[in-house]
């Protein structure tokens, strides 16, 4: 049954791609969206079937691919990711019906978008190395094409595409090397066989394969220092595509690291997981810091994706560390917390990116410094953004809070341990989580407060009007999920637990208390998100009722206090730049902001200023110090190498001779 659905998902996805290529322009968008959504529906049904029954959906055919053939087997762990991608993709497709611009309805884009979604659904099902690399590359290339759809009109899109192409191909090369290494040493390329034989492999093979997997998958997850493509490509992609990339595609990076580390290799030494934890902590801090100081709405969201994937990696790393130091039950809890955060991140980030896409469509800009007052002009879109912002800032009773709480609990209960690594690493982990949490709250107060509240800072925001209802529905479903899953996390918790058990092969009893509250078994104290929500609701009603009883007169509209000035304009408000300025100053050493003040004076007197321009910019430190140097080094090497083939036929013949001699020597 689930295997049939797997085939149906693939076929409908391909049909959608064909429809995108062949359908006339008028029908293209609705037809492609409907077919893609149908493929996602099949995918969701399949994933839920696998999650509830525990029986994997298996499809194997020797013909379609060379080497090992096409082999798909979806277990519970993969099904969790398929379900997440499917829900996000359905919402993105509904959203897309109302989204125009960015050239997303061109023939190429309409053909590639279904391929991208299908690849997202198939990656977690791949069951051998060839199939995995094939669908992984399909996903990478199709998303690259989708980022590039608007490259003719905006040159920055092409730059973003170059960064993305280079980083994704480097990552794919690392994956190819790592997986082929495993396959050759295990003697088979099927994941099941590798899992069975990996324990007997030499330690260096296991470690090298794991490190290569962390590099390859980490670059897809936006892990620092391989994140540089993410804050460029995600903002430049069209609205629904950025939602898919940030809420569904990055998850597959996490999928890969857990699948290889916990699944194929069956866990490893402590240093593997300390590496993952360290990179996760770095990503969380760096991402949240840059998100807090970004002024571009979608760039801010992209950096916050790096930040959240960092938290997930922190959880995955802690889980592995627990497993390698003999705390299997806590390892399971930490992995559940990390996976729960993946699910919740997909929900709130999808909602935020879709709302940001709607805001961009309504105003024509993503620059927070030119937005403002949108909650009154776009009441629905604005409210959806607010819900997503609350969830990502981990405010109870929304969903982000639950996964962060569970992660904190896992860190806390690991502490009374005699293992020195845990004793050092866990408090630092809590510190990272806390600072990230604080910065995320600041980031989204800024995004929502500057973008949606106050007065419009420019004409685009002042003249904006509400977007089409289909765009509300797409974001609205995800925003509703933020609230529903925050109040009732037990709707997804059992599935997440089963997924974590499946990938680690753990037979442990359920380590969580479940009921209308949940917590860790054996520890006193729990969290009852439902009751918390009811309590908050009752308190709000009580306070609002009291206020109404005391003062029933309608609120009087007044002019805001202007400090005695006659004129109070929108330009006097704080902007996103000024909002983040204190933080920029505090973290000056990390962010290294560049300021440029240019004052021109009136010709008659130096004491009168004619005009002043101020420019401030914040570069990514890794980009400036690491990548730019690497790129200029490569360019230098290219220049050197170019001198060798100078066009002389004699020289080329000599190269041929030398090469032949070398080959003979090596083979002989």
């Amino acid at each position: 049954m689930t295997a049939d659905l797997l085939v149906a998902t693939t076929l409908i996805g391909l049909a959608a791609a064909a429809a995108g290529a062949a359908a006339p322009e008028r029908l293209r968008t609705p037809l492609v969206s409907a077919l893609t959504a149908a493929a996602c529906g099949c995918g969701l049904a399949m994933a839920l079937g696998v999650l509830s029954s525990g029986r994997a959906a298996v499809v194997h055919t020797g013909r379609l691919l060379p080497l090992g053939g096409l082999s798909l087997a979806l277990d519970r762990f993969g099904a969790l990711f398929v379900a997440v991608s499917a829900v996000v993709a359905v919402c993105a497709m509904v959203f897309r019906l109302g989204y125009d611009g960015h050239g997303l309805s061109s023939r190429t884009a309409s053909c590639v978008l279904p391929l991208f979604v299908t690849a997202l659904l198939l990656v977690p099902a791949a069951a051998n190395v060839t199939t995995f690399l094939f669908v992984w590359e399909l996903m990478a290339v199709s998303s690259l094409l989708l980022v590039l759809v608007d490259h003719r009109r905006r040159p920055e899109v092409a730059v973003a595409g170059q960064w993305y192409a280079v980083m994704t191909q480097l990552g794919a090369a690392a994956l190819l090397a790592g997986l082929v290494l495993l396959a050759t040493h295990a003697g088979s390329q099927s994941f099941a066989a590798i899992t069975a034989r990996s324990a007997g492999l030499p330690a260096w093979v296991r470690s090298l394969a794991f490190v290569l997997a962390v590099v390859g998958f980490g670059s897809k997850a936006g892990m620092v220092p391989l994140h540089v493509w993410l804050p460029r490509a995600h903002p430049e992609a069209p609205g629904p595509v950025s939602a898919l990339m940030s809420a569904a595609m990055v998850n597959l990076g996490i999928y890969g690291i857990v699948r290889v580390g916990d699944g194929l290799l069956g866990g490893g030494p402590a240093w593997w997981w300390l590496l993952v934890m360290g990179l996760g902590a770095l990503s969380a801090l760096f991402g949240s810091l840059h998100a807090a100081t970004s002024t571009d709405l979608k760039r801010l969201l992209a950096y916050s994706t790096t930040d959240n994937m960092g938290l997930v990696l922190l959880g995955v790393g802690v889980s592995g560390l627990f497993a390698s130091t003999g705390h299997p039950s806590l390892a399971l809890v930490a992995l559940v917390a990390a996976l729960l955060h993946v699910v919740f991140h997909a929900v709130f980030k999808g909602s935020l990116f879709l709302s940001a896409g709607a805001i961009q469509q309504a105003t024509g800009t993503r620059d927070l410094d030119r937005l403002g007052g949108l909650l009154q002009r776009l009441p629905v879109t604005g409210s959806l953004f607010l819900v997503g912002a609350g969830a990502i800032a981990a405010l109870p009773p929304l969903c982000g809070f639950v996964s962060e709480w569970l992660l904190l609990q896992a860190l806390l209960h690991g502490l009374p341990s005699s293992d020195p690594w845990l004793a050092i690493v866990l408090p630092v982990g809590v510190g990272v989580l806390a600072l990230t949490g604080g910065l995320t709250a600041l980031t989204f107060v800024k995004a929502a407060g500057i973008g949606l509240l106050g007065q419009p800072r420019g004409a685009p925001a002042a003249e904006a009007s509400e977007v089409r209802p289909s765009m509300w529905v797409g974001g609205g479903v995800l925003a509703t999920l933020c609230l529903v899953l925050g109040v009732a996390p037990l709707l997804v918790l059992p599935s997440v637990l089963e997924a974590a058990r499946t990938v680690t092969g753990s037979q442990l009893p359920d380590p969580l208390v479940r009921g209308w509250q949940f917590g860790l078994l054996g520890a006193r104290g729990a969290l009852a998100p439902g009751l918390l929500a009811i309590g908050l609701l009752v308190a709000v009603v009580l306070v609002a009722g009291t206020r109404w009883a005391l003062q029933r007169a309608a609120v009087r509209r007044t002019e805001a206090w202007g400090c005695g000035r006659e004129l109070q304009t929108a330009r006097m408000q704080y902007t996103a730049t000024s909002f983040g300025e204190p933080l920029t100053r505090v973290f000056e050493d990390v962010l290294t902001p560049a300021h440029d003040l240019d004052v021109s004076h009136v010709a008659e007197s130096r004491y009168y200023v004619e005009a002043a321009t101020f420019h401030t910019s914040l570069d990514d430190a890794f980009e400036r110090h690491g990548y730019r140097h690497a790129a200029s080094g490569l360019a230098w090497w290219g220049g050197v190498a170019r001198r060798v083939p100078n066009g002389s036929v004699h020289r080329y013949l000599a190269f041929g001779l030398v090469a032949l001699v070398v080959v003979l020597v090596v083979l002989g």
């Binding site: 709480w405 600072l435 106050g454 908050l536 206020r547 202007g562």
Partner: protein, 320 residues
């Protein structure tokens, strides 16, 4: 989950806690103001003046700036409501209050964060420079104090094997020697610094200033009037009272009722009132003695608190 405690006693204790915080918060602020005035050689308004102010304000008209949205009016309600929930679940009077098992320290921290975020959003909604300035500064200080706060929470939770407040309190009552351990003292200092920062007291923020360049909290609430202002003021004072009461609970737990008897509860009410009043007086004396820090020196203070908190966790592992 409330064990052997009769439902009536638990309900009565919960109502007492909430009422105590609602009435006690403004009284605490009045007391601190009185102490400050006396130390500065002035007579000062009576201790119950904040309550009188609230009564006066509650009857006055509410206003809203032209540009503001519904968020502006919702903020005071959210601020007070979140604090009410904290007052309900925290074990201020008894080790086993109504929802004690859900009184998780981390959850309480996040509930406080809801109030802070709401205030900042309301400030940005006014569409003035002051609102943005206050929100930006308050969120920056909040973000930087979060690590110190959570790691201090961790230091307290580790020996109790739980971040559940009633469990921690009950455990410190049964193991009094534990209160004098280095990790306790270190996390005490860290906690105190964070409370000062979170509640906007000197040396981080001066609650009685209206000078543009130094305002943080006051800048955020400039536009509120009438019943809204009453709620904001009530919310602030309740937050301060709850934070000090939690602090008293965690570090000086004696007096908290361990049984449901009426005698226990009376002792608990008197004890918590005395402890919070003493802390308030101490804070007021401290406020008179220090000057406000420059805004960009505050991160150093908070980083210091974070280091103390980390030391507390580490020493919790070394000295069990």
């Amino acid at each position: 989950m409330t064990g052997a405690w009769p439902v009536g006693a638990v309900a009565a204790i919960s109502v007492l806690q909430v009422l105590g915080v609602v009435v006690g918060g403004p009284l605490l602020v009045g007391l601190m103001r009185k102490v400050r005035c006396r130390l500065e050689g002035r007579v000062g308004p009576p201790v119950h003046q904040p309550l009188l102010d609230l009564r006066k304000l509650a009857r006055r008209e509410r206003t809203r700036p032209d540009q503001a949205s519904w968020i502006f009016s919702a903020v005071p309600v959210v601020l007070v409501a979140t604090t009410l929930v904290i007052a309900l679940v925290a074990p201020l009077l008894a080790t086993d209050p109504a929802f004690g098992w859900s009184a998780d320290l981390f959850a309480l921290v996040y509930l406080l964060l809801v109030g802070s975020v709401a205030l900042a959003l309301g400030a940005l909604d006014t569409g003035t420079a002051f609102g943005g300035m206050g929100a930006s500064r308050a969120m920056t200080i909040g973000a930087l104090s979060e690590p110190a706060l959570l790691v201090a929470v961790l230091a307290l939770s580790v020996p109790a094997h739980s971040s559940n407040v009633p469990t921690i309190v009950a455990r410190s009552l049964t193991h009094p020697a534990w209160l004098a351990t280095p990790q306790r003292l270190l996390s005490l200092v860290a906690f105190l610094i964070v409370i000062v920062a979170e509640s906007g007291r000197l040396p981080v923020d001066n609650p009685s200033t209206h000078l543009e360049l130094t305002m943080i909290h006051e800048a955020m609430v400039l536009e509120y009037a009438g019943a809204d202002l009453a709620l904001v003021k009530l919310g602030e004072s309740m937050r301060l009272a709850v934070l000090l009461a939690l602090f008293a609970d965690l570090f000086v737990p004696w007096g908290v009722a361990t049984g449901p008897g009426i005698g226990h509860v009376v002792v608990a009410v008197v004890a918590i009132a005395a402890k919070v009043a003493a802390l308030g007086v101490a804070l007021a004396v401290f406020e008179v003695a220090v000057a406000k820090l420059r805004l960009f020196r505050v991160p150093e203070l908070l980083a210091g608190a974070f280091v103390l908190a980390v030391l507390a966790v580490v020493s919790a592992l070394v000295v069990p």
